[in-house]
Amino acid sequence: MAESPFIRKEIKGIRVHVLPSDRFKTYSISLYVGSPLEEANVTANAVIPFVLRRGSAAYPETRAFRIKLDEMYGASFGFDLYKRGNNQIVQFRLDTVADRYVAEGGSDRLLREALAFLIGTLCRPALEDGRFVAKYVEAEKTTVQKKLEAVINDKIRYAAERCLQEMFPDDPFRLNALGKIEDLAAITPENLYERYRRWLAEAQIDLYVAGDTTPETVFGLVEEAFDAGRGSAQPYRIGNPPAPRVEVKRVEESLDVAQGKLNIGLTLPVLVPDADYPSALVYNGLLGGFPHSKLFVNVREKASLAYYASSRYDGYKGMVMIQSGIETGNRDKALAIIADQLEQVAKGQFSDVEMNQTRAMIVSQLTELSDSAFDMIAFDFNAVLTGRRRTAEELAESVMAVGREDVKRIAGQVRMDTVYFLRNRQGGDER
């Protein structure tokens, strides 16, 4: 069995993971801060990283903060906010050129600067009067509000979010990882700073460094720079899959759009840690994960109804989302074809060729993870999150062992839950 290439150590309540490698021209650093996705805190938690990126104690002015990044050979710094099951994850990323390509003054000068910068950004924010800088909080509340309002601009994303909202009306999973617009008004520099203190103390924190360095160097730098008064690291909790619905929920909405968007949410009670996870990957691959899959071939290539028709399996929540963009008048036709594909997979009506192609594609995706430091980091973090350690090689082996009966067993557990359709406005000057 292949061993994970990461070397790990718990330091001051955070998990530190180091991947020494000279294949990359940069140091890739990811800092994951994860907390349970909760109605009460989702919005404040989301605003925190926006405020942190405005300035730290060392670089309190935003412009100085960004100039420092430029000076580190244009270090790319950013963060993402997303859901992994019912966890709200903030991922900070910093990518800076490896010292050997721009060597000046010491073999790991840029790594030192980058780590100190990132840890400083997380642990020692710019403050005024013992709380966050009011100007930054106000501006970033506006930024988050704009981002939430902008979801409607991208109709593909909008339809996917609306489908989730309808599918999970009582589950925080329906929420955007950026939170809720209506919560923003109540956020103040004081209460946000309070929330930040608790977030920093209680969230799960994983720091990853990949690049031309040694674990000792990184561990030493973290010992020096990290300071958040935390207890010991706790495992993440991954929830239970959703219960199937008795009757399919159907929702239709209209907007000023040229193309209709059809989204179908399905429950699949298989999660990443489960033994059936590799089979669920193959199921989704056969159904709609690739251009050789049933949805692409039948909705697009054969019926010529769509440009895209695909499915995505979420093993952190236990669901599948099918999506396609079609002419409004073709809704029933598309639905019938999709239902037919679901049934075919369930009945085992797929060829050995389809099975082989699907397994080969998934294995290829897993194999190429090792070419990107950030992909390797993301894969490893998912193992930390779910508590199930599988290397990419182990998962690839399991995928190769998935057979037809395994896929049928998975298909037998899939239940259509919600059909969401975004259509154009009727009448008027519509074509």
Partner: protein
């Protein structure tokens, strides 16, 4: 096969031009599992007029280069995605103004996959029926882009700037224009623009150069092509001024989207001059309005821009422009503030220290690109097709001076040549 060692990049490039004219580049990446290959032709949406050998002139239907890209994936025995999938490889393609690129990424059987790539792109198979069927699919692609405000504001700016140049025509065409496409015209385009002499293949990643090159040579030697005659493309003369100062599209959006930019007066030529112009323009834009500029921060503080704000530039031998923008509550005020901010710079000039920092940032970005086989292959092709040395950017940036950037600013930022594109919610309820 030529071997070129780039010491500072720690990379080695292998190249050869085959007897049929095909240019092949191989870049092995030590320790990588994946291989990424791109097979591109110098033929894009803007190459819509040409003269045939008999002297007659052809005007192609809008969107045909992109339509052809879609149709290439079909073979008599089915669609070629399946062949790649047999090897766990994923294939794709894209069409831009000046090129059409076919690509795959794979973690095994790389040589087989490269042959599949060469074979399918060099063997068109069109029938009346499969051409008709594609019209439905591309029709939906066009509708998807119609609903996408980011695409509309981007394209609106090009339409505002250019009166004649065919880059102003949407890459996918319209539902009406693709309706006129037939298999005969597709074959004509393929014959004219897909000759190996007009194409470039680059393979980056887990590749063994000698064996790979041998396989490519044998594959190409097994096919016959007529002698290469460079297609005689015809482009209309583009007037110097922008076509319209402002272009507005109505679409439901949470905030107006506003892109603006300057249309370059005359192209810089190609090769080193073009590369220097692009480098100077990028550093200039970073300095003027990048995230660490005073102006960016002032606009953000005034709630006129948000994280969506950014910039880009296109510098080619025929057309060149800058593009700046994002979501804004007030497009007019944004433009006014930008004018003021640029005016201040025009009086004071850029500071040497700021220039150094931005040059450094660009060098870092260039080096970072070498982590990604996809980025290497795509950037290589893009620059090569414009006559720029794709690996020469370190030299270009290192020889760039503050004086170059100040001069670039004086040349480029000409308010007479400004165009603005806006997408905003319509008045219709």
């Amino acid at each position: 096969m030529k071997e070129i060692r780039y010491e500072r990049l720690n990379e080695t490039l292998y190249s050869e031009t085959l007897p049929n004219g095909l240019e092949v580049l191989l870049l092995p990446k030590a320790g990588f599992s994946k291989t990424y290959a791109v097979f591109s032709t110098r033929y894009g949406s803007a190459d819509n007029r040409f003269r045939k050998a008999d002297g007659s002139e052809i005007r192609l239907p809008d969107g045909i280069a992109h339509f052809l890209e879609h149709k290439m994936f079909e073979e008599p025995e089915g669609d070629v995605f399946q062949k790649f999938a047999d090897h766990g490889a994923s294939a794709n393609a894209f069409t831009s103004f000046d090129r059409t690129a076919y690509l795959f990424s794979a973690t095994r059987d790389v040589e087989d996959n490269v042959e599949t790539l060469l074979d399918f792109v060099q063997a068109p198979y069109f029938t009346d029926e499969n051409v008709e069927k594609e019209k439905g699919i591309i029709g939906q692609e066009i509708q998807m882009y119609r609903d996408n405000p980011d695409w509309r504001v981007y394209y609106g700016l090009i339409e505002a700037m250019y009166a004649e140049d065919p880059i102003r025509i949407d890459i996918a065409g319209t539902i009406e224009s693709i309706g006129t496409i037939d298999k005969e015209t597709l074959y004509l385009c393929h014959e004219t623009f897909y000759h190996p002499g007009n194409m470039l293949l680059i393979v980056v990643g887990a590749v063994e150069p000698e064996r790979m090159m041998e396989r490519i040579r044998a594959n190409q030697a097994g096919k016959t092509f007529p002698p290469y005659r460079a297609p005689e493309r015809i482009y209309p003369a583009e007037p110097e001024p922008v076509r319209e100062r402002m272009h507005v599209v109505e679409l439901p959006v949470s905030l107006p989207k506003c892109f603006f930019g300057f249309k370059e007066k005359k192209p810089a030529g190609d090769g080193v001059a073009l590369a220097r112009q692009e480098a100077a323009t990028r550093v200039m834009l970073d300095l003027l309005i990048g995230p660490s500029s005073d102006l960016y921060q002032a606009l953000y503080d005034e709630n006129l821009i948000s994280d969506s704000f950014g910039f880009d530039c296109q510098m080619t031998p025929r057309y060149a422009y800058s593009m700046i923008g994002g979501d804004t509550r007030d497009p007019d005020l944004l433009i006014e503030r930008v004018k003021d901010g640029f005016g201040r710079i025009a009086r004071e000039g850029f500071a040497e220290a700021d220039f150094e920092r931005m040059r450094r940032k660009r060098i870092g970005n260039f080096l970072r690109m070498f982590n990604s086989p996809e980025a290497i292959a795509n950037e290589y092709t893009r620059h090569r097709f414009r006559g720029i040395d794709p690996f020469g950017w370190l030299d270009v940036y290192e020889s760039l001076t503050l004086e170059d950037v100040n001069r670039r600013f004086a040349d480029h930022v000409n308010w007479e040549r400004l165009a603005v594109s806006i997408v905003r919610t319509g008045s219709r309820p």
